[in-house]
Symmetry: C2
């Protein structure tokens, strides 16, 4: 029997092409899982697993038994427990809120259709409100490198199970950094797509206008494969968007394809006293400079002001809109920190909301202009790596610090890719995030591959070496020109 | 001396090409204007006019005296008084609110740069809040065909001065129909562009996220010429947008270029008892059917629900955000109807605002699906044509009725073109509006030309015949393909 921990999707595919059987490999994997592991909220029982494998056999039959026609054939995965998957309650990290979904979320259905096998639902900061991984009645999720340190959140469990190599990929969500901070703290790839590229149908909303489903994987190759399987317009999700297929040549460079030459970095990054993170960043920056890329320090204050709108401004009312009636009747069943944050929504009026929207648009314009000559933006994924104890003692401040380089991204309509960037002196991983304009997801993957091939860190918290990263082929689509005035 | 009333832009250009001089033509025009006309809030005095003509001479000098290089050389125009123009106070229809703008609004500056000569600022429903043309301390603007009937609003004065042929074009604004309803009631072309195509810098906001500058003209040719002169990205306007230049082929048909074959119409249009409007619509519909176009009646209820969000929902808080401090200190100087409407904003919370946004997105999706097989949408511009007296007796209900076919358009991110469509039995003009998806402004102009050449109504309220309508050439721009996932 092969030992699957740390296998990439490519490893799983090779095994099946060599004749391995899903019932054996996945059966062994699930049997080995620790049901007391804080990363899981629910695991597939044997009945669920059998049903999943039965469905997979049916899918295979339909494609004439050719496993290469199911790109994720027999690949196990996990899903954050604010995303619907039939057979599992959706808890959003709050047992009192749990419901039985009638159908899979769009992304889960697409993964199953591609042959992937769901093995469990993962822990999270309740209602995806947090970046720490401690705000859950199912327990804090420990960092996969040092258990006294936070895992990061809110997609804490999904990051943990991928980092430890239990599954090759998992779905998270990302509104303010929940798909990136835990990737950074666990040496993973965290793909935060362009808003609307992956459907959010079947996801418990955090801020519905900003929410994204995200992907945790060990490699960029794998993250790109999963993105290819789940991307696409969904008429049932009002926030789904059709990709434009072509971008204007006179737009800001960050939205323009082409070879990457100039990458912006924050002029005076903040570290909140974390000298190890600062040192790791400085090392990363010098390594990037060796890669034939010009790094250009830029004023980061518009990004910070935009970020502040998310929690200190009216967007918190989106979280309120999502849980208002539950909070009114079951508020005592909520995590008190989460409840406190969401309660702030009632301070804001409709007028405040539109004023904040105007400020958002102005800051977006300012940021676009600032990045006009840049091909991407590079930031630390997280500026600190606090202990669970420290977060418990100061749950709001330390959480906010973690979002310094993530909070602004969804409001700015940017896509982002968190990637490993070596290790701190204390043995914790350090991560950086590549950011670009909407619909430039593929360009970020290419850039990330260039970096990881030059700095081949091991996979997650396993000791497996990183394979060569080779981004997939670009997709091109026919377009038509339109005249706007004349 | 030539008599300029009713001249189109083309007529003005011909006169200059034949040797006429702006100082003579415009001097005569301005001298003839009636300063007690309710359509005007302010007119250029002789000093302003001399300065404008001096600037024009300077511009002409810079292009080597070649007037063909100034596409609007010496063409007089008027501007709604919520749009900044140096030398005039901006009142927004409220004397207590007036301020002296330091610079021209972007659209006014572009028109002047193209050679056009501003001759006055026009009356409006206060703070552009109304569709009637009666809500102004400068007096109600009479309909240009029958003075006891409303002009429509809020761009009442701009429509009136164009309809009577005083100027060949004027700028209005359009948030809920203010650039279309007065066009319909005065036999004009009213161009409501795609949001963000014309800058709103220097415009007193109504609903800043929805506001558009609009164009009133006697012909589609002229409206297209003016649109060509004022369209373009403006970095100083956070709501300005770059045109995508290419649209996906798999998008809803209403957003897709191509020959127009199927036009949607409301299944059960509402007339609020106005049988003359209904009869005029039925005549129009039968004439459209003769033009080799299939008219397809569709359920209009999602459009009506979307429209209701604008005034009955939190968007009214945008109007509040624009005038909150003025209203707090000078509320007694405001039109009581306008003040009452804007005061409703305080009923809405941030949570309400996001919920309404979600509903808006859902309705937009529903409307897109409904129009998936359609090439455009055709509606009556206004369902009624009430008298000023009737509106004074019931200022809110009759105003709301006027917006039945216009209110939803800006929220749906559609562009629209109001065009003449013959006359009612009582001698009032009847108008229809062509609607399509964002960035399809030019397609609407082509379709409108086809209609007007088949139904050549006279120009505005003048007795001049309509010239052949010939839409300008399409503009094409280089694009680059982008890959989104891979």
């Amino acid at each position: 029997m092969p030992a699957t921990p740390g296998w990439t999707i490519e490893d799983w595919r090779k095994a099946y092409h060599s004749g391995a059987k899903p019932e054996e490999l996945i059966g062994e994997l699930v049997a080995r899982l620790d049901t007391t592991d804080n990363a899981w909220i629910a695991l597939s029982d044997s009945t669920q697993l059998q049903a999943a494998l039965f469905d997979l056999a049916g899918s295979l039959n339909k494609v004439g038994g050719d496993i290469s026609r199911l790109p994720l054939y027999g690949v196990p995965f996990a899903v954050k427990d604010n995303i619907d998957a039939t057979g599992f309650d959706t808890t959003a990290g709050c047992p009192g809120y749990a419901y039985q979904p009638k159908q899979d979320a769009n992304t889960v259905a697409r993964l199953k259709a591609a042959g992937a096998v769901l093995i469990g639902k993962t822990n999270l900061d309740q209602f995806a409100t947090g970046l720490v991984g401690t705000r859950s009645p199912y327990g804090a999720v420990p960092n996969s490198f040092r258990p006294e340190v936070v895992s990061g959140g809110s997609s804490s469990g999904s990051a943990s199970v991928v980092a430890r190599g239990l599954v090759p990929f998992a779905l998270g969500t990302d509104t303010a950094g929940s798909g990136r901070v835990p990737a950074g703290l666990n040496n993973l790839v965290g793909l935060k797509p362009t808003r609307g590229l992956f459907s959010i149908q079947g996801v418990v909303p955090a801020c519905r206008s900003l929410d994204c489903v995200s992907v945790f994987a060990l490699t960029v190759n794998d993250a790109g494969l999963v993105a290819g399987a789940i991307a696409g317009f969904d008429a049932d999700d009002a926030f789904s968007r059709r990709a434009p297929y072509a971008l204007p040549l006179d737009g800001p460079a960050i939205r323009r394809p082409g070879p990457v030459k100039r990458i912006a970095i924050p002029e005076h990054p903040q570290w909140f006293g974390d000298q190890q993170a600062e040192a790791a960043w400085n090392t990363s920056v010098s390594l990037w400079r060796q890669q034939n890329v010009e790094l250009v320090p830029l004023d980061f204050s518009p990004m910070l002001e935009l970020a502040a709108l998310l929690y200190d401004g009216p967007w918190v009312a989106e979280r309120h809109a999502a849980v208002e009636s539950f909070m009114a009747s079951h508020g005592n069943e909520m995590n008190p920190v989460v409840k406190g944050i969401i309660s702030n929504a009632t301070r804001f009026t409709a007028t405040d909301t539109f004023r904040a929207r105007y400020r958002k648009e102005e800051l977006q314009r300012q940021i676009d202009e600032l990045l006009a000559d840049m091909d991407a933006l590079l930031v630390p994924t997280a500026p600190t790596a606090p202990t669970i104890e420290a977060v418990n003692n100061d749950p709001v401040t330390l959480n906010s610090q973690l979002g310094t380089y993530t909070n602004f991204v969804n409001l700015a309509d940017f896509c982002a890719l968190a990637i490993p960037a070596g290790f701190r002196d204390d043995g914790l991983p350090f991560g950086v995030t590549l950011i670009s304009g909407a619909w430039k997801d593929t360009e970020l993957q290419h850039l990330a591959c260039q970096w990881l091939n030059a700095q081949p860190t091991p996979l997650g918290a396993t000791d497996r070496p990183r394979p060569q990263e080779t981004p997939g082929a670009e997709i091109s689509t026919p377009t038509v020109q339109v005249a706007v005035v004349g």
